[in-house]
Amino acid sequence: MFKYKKFNFIFIFVFLTFIPMIFKGYIVFILPQYILFGVLAMSLAFIWGNAGILSFGQASFFAIGGYTFGLLIKFFPEINHFFLGSLIVIFLGFVVAVITSYFLFSAGVKATYFVLATLALSILTEQLAVTKSTLTGGWNGLFVDRINIKVGDFTLLDLSGDVKFFYLILFISLITYLILNYLENNKIGKVLRGIRENENRMLAMGYKTSFYKTVAFGVSGSVAALAGALYAAHASFISPSIAGVLFSTEVVVWVAIGGRYSLLGAFAGGIIVSFLSSYLSTITPQYWQLFLGIIFIVTIIFFKDGLAGIFKKRYERNNIK
């Protein structure tokens, strides 16, 4: 189809790589957080674009990752936070996602109802974060110390500076993208898309659809949790609102605008829309949500495939001789 389809992602990641070299200060600080939102968006696009499973619960995995990571740093200062902590977070995200989705998919719960269950999951996670306040700090939030990447006693990477953390997060995002892309282009991706098109046919062909959906949701949960852990480490602070319905819905907005059928589109959508919200709210604190709502509606009606879809069409038009 596209000549450069396999290598599109290089452009975006190279572009991002150059940012700290050209700019200093605030952008280098804030961009990693937006990049992590991009990763969170990818976690949603993975299941929404491929399997047609919409989730309003990505924020809860993000929060689970963030809080787990923060609590590990707080209560277990001896362990190797970066490697072991990340593994624990990924595992926990996977497990929670699998338990929730298996519970529902195995009973044949319809996709539309699943959406509402994920909404409830967000609310539950937020309530949990608030009520276990002796552990999590409740609404006052949890402080997360900046850590270094250590192997044994040897410091591999000192993360107290912005630039190093920036590249670390960029690198991890790249790896995550490549993994998700690989999964998409292989068997599991194809099965998921088959399920999206016609689940009954896939069942008739002998595929255990609930298994595939559950695994996909598990992958999505672990990616979201990892993004959350890195976010907590970077922002040095996490609070229950990051688990809630409002943030979960923002993720959906990012992916809808970026392009639900494209991992890169979702990634870019997460970065661009969160940047846009932040920027709009500084120039017009009263009306920015109005503009965002309008952009959102316009996107859903006219640009169903999001930004990625717009680029795809332009590129295709250019290439037709």
Binding site: N140, R314, N318
Partner: protein
């Protein structure tokens, strides 16, 4: 990038460069970066070297209701300061950040204001969660934050949101807001407290501190309930209250929950049977309640629009001139007003502006024109010493002017020392 050569009607060649995806992404990228940088560029083109203050306020999101008074207080003070020629000959200028009532946005805004807008210090954030989110930022980037809201006091475990040498508290904590009035309330109504609050740190710690004094005075707690945000119905709580038979309902709900609860409390006819003492519901909330629901209830803060201090008359006159006759002001807005003036005084005293000298000179500084009466910033723990007023809501109030009647007041209430390693 493809370059195509077309021939138009006159057979002249037109070079038609098609925009490829790469170029589109690049141009959006440049636009975006330019947009990010532009406020700084635009501002630096302006007049000579103002003192920039980053104000973080909840202008959207769940607590938009409080945002207006919050920022208005600071704006009024800055106007007054600039009218007198500014500070050290420089005008003060606000750079506003909307917190959207989200702590994670506060992290963003605090960083943006300090790194991008290069403000000299920060003022605001509203809830304790927002202040805590700003804590690590002002610690790492070494900028002062002036925090206005009544809060739960400083405990070491919440460092760096509290016990942070860069954060100055301009609102009262429970030993100032609650303790002075407990004896009066208990003598008048009885010793049994039923505590109802929203489920987060401020109500919980406030209740904990209140219980300490309650025990001292021989009182008791017959019920303690914490309500999650966004609870619409209070039937079960009302029943618990009736069963517990308290003398005083000690109330620390916030946001829309406080209105929901008090409306339903009044509708159930329970106002006749129990006294209600709130430490959260100031002018903004009480206006939303109406006189029937709020009448005769007790409120305690360091400031009310209704207080009869000469400073207040002058303050309200200026405030209404700028914001209109119906504008609302409350303890938080006044704390912002005081914070601005006290910062200006501190900078003048220091003769220069940098974080260390601002910090040193804020400690111990007094502001005699504060609307509620003279206030002083305590040296050791960055806590302000303010008056404490106990007011009763007028059952037939019609506007903020006649909303509260003073029951008793103390001009200077010295709070307990902060539970941090002092001095800060």
């Amino acid at each position: 990038m493809e370059v195509r050569v077309k021939k138009n009607k006159k057979n002249k060649s037109i070079v038609n460069k098609k925009i490829s995806r790469r170029d589109a992404i690049k141009s959006i990228g440049y636009l975006a970066i330019g947009a990010l940088a532009s406020p700084a560029l635009i501002r630096s083109a302006h007049a000579a070297n103002p003192i920039k203050v980053g104000v973080i306020s909840p202008l959207s999101g769940a607590w938009t209701v409080y945002g207006k008074a919050h920022i208005a207080g600071f704006e009024l003070a800055v106007d007054e300061i600039n009218a007198k020629g500014g500070v050290l000959g420089r005008k003060m200028e606000l750079v506003i950040g909307d917190s959207k009532t989200e702590p994670r946005i506060v992290v963003e805004q605090a960083n943006r204001l300090i790194r991008n807008e290069k403000v000299d210090f920060l003022a605001g954030t509203f809830s304790s969660a927002e202040r805590n989110a700003a804590g690590p930022v002002v610690k790492a980037l070494d900028k002062v934050l002036l925090y206005p809201t009544f809060y739960e006091g400083q405990e070491k475990e919440y460092y760096p949101g509290v016990c942070n040498k860069n954060i100055f508290m301009f609102g009262p904590e429970p030993t100032q807001q609650v303790w002075p009035h407990m004896e009066y309330m208990m003598n008048k109504f009885g010793k049994k407290f039923f505590m109802i609050g929203s489920d987060y740190a401020w109500p919980r710690v406030t209740n904990m501190v209140t219980k300490r004094k309650l025990k001292e005075l021989g009182g008791s707690v017959v019920g303690e309930v914490y309500i999650p945000f966004g609870t619409p119905q209070y039937e079960s709580v009302l029943r618990d209250i009736r069963n517990a038979k308290p003398d005083i309902i000690f109330h620390s709900l916030t946001g829309s929950d406080t209105v929901n609860f008090r409306q339903q409390f009044a509708a159930a006819g329970m106002k006749e049977d129990f006294a209600l003492w709130t430490v959260d519901d100031e002018e903004v909330v009480t206006t939303g309640l109406g006189p029937k629901v709020s009448g005769n209830d007790y409120v305690s803060f360091d400031y009310f629009m209704s207080i009869k201090h000469p400073n207040n008359a002058k303050f309200l006159k200026n405030f209404r001139k700028k914001f209109g006759q119906d504008a609302l002001m409350n303890t938080v807005g006044v704390a912002m007003y005081n914070a601005a003036h006290m910062a200006a005084l501190a900078i003048e005293k220091a003769g220069k502006l940098d974080t260390a000298s601002l910090r040193e000179n804020l400690k111990g500084i007094s502001f005699n024109d504060a609307p509620q009466g003279p206030v002083t910033m305590r040296k050791d723990d960055n806590q302000i010493i303010v008056p404490s007023y106990l007011m009763q809501v007028n059952p037939s109030w019609t506007n903020v002017g006649n909303m509260f009647n003073e029951v008793q007041s103390f001009q200077k209430v010295v709070p307990l020392a902060a539970r941090c390693s002092l001095p800060l």
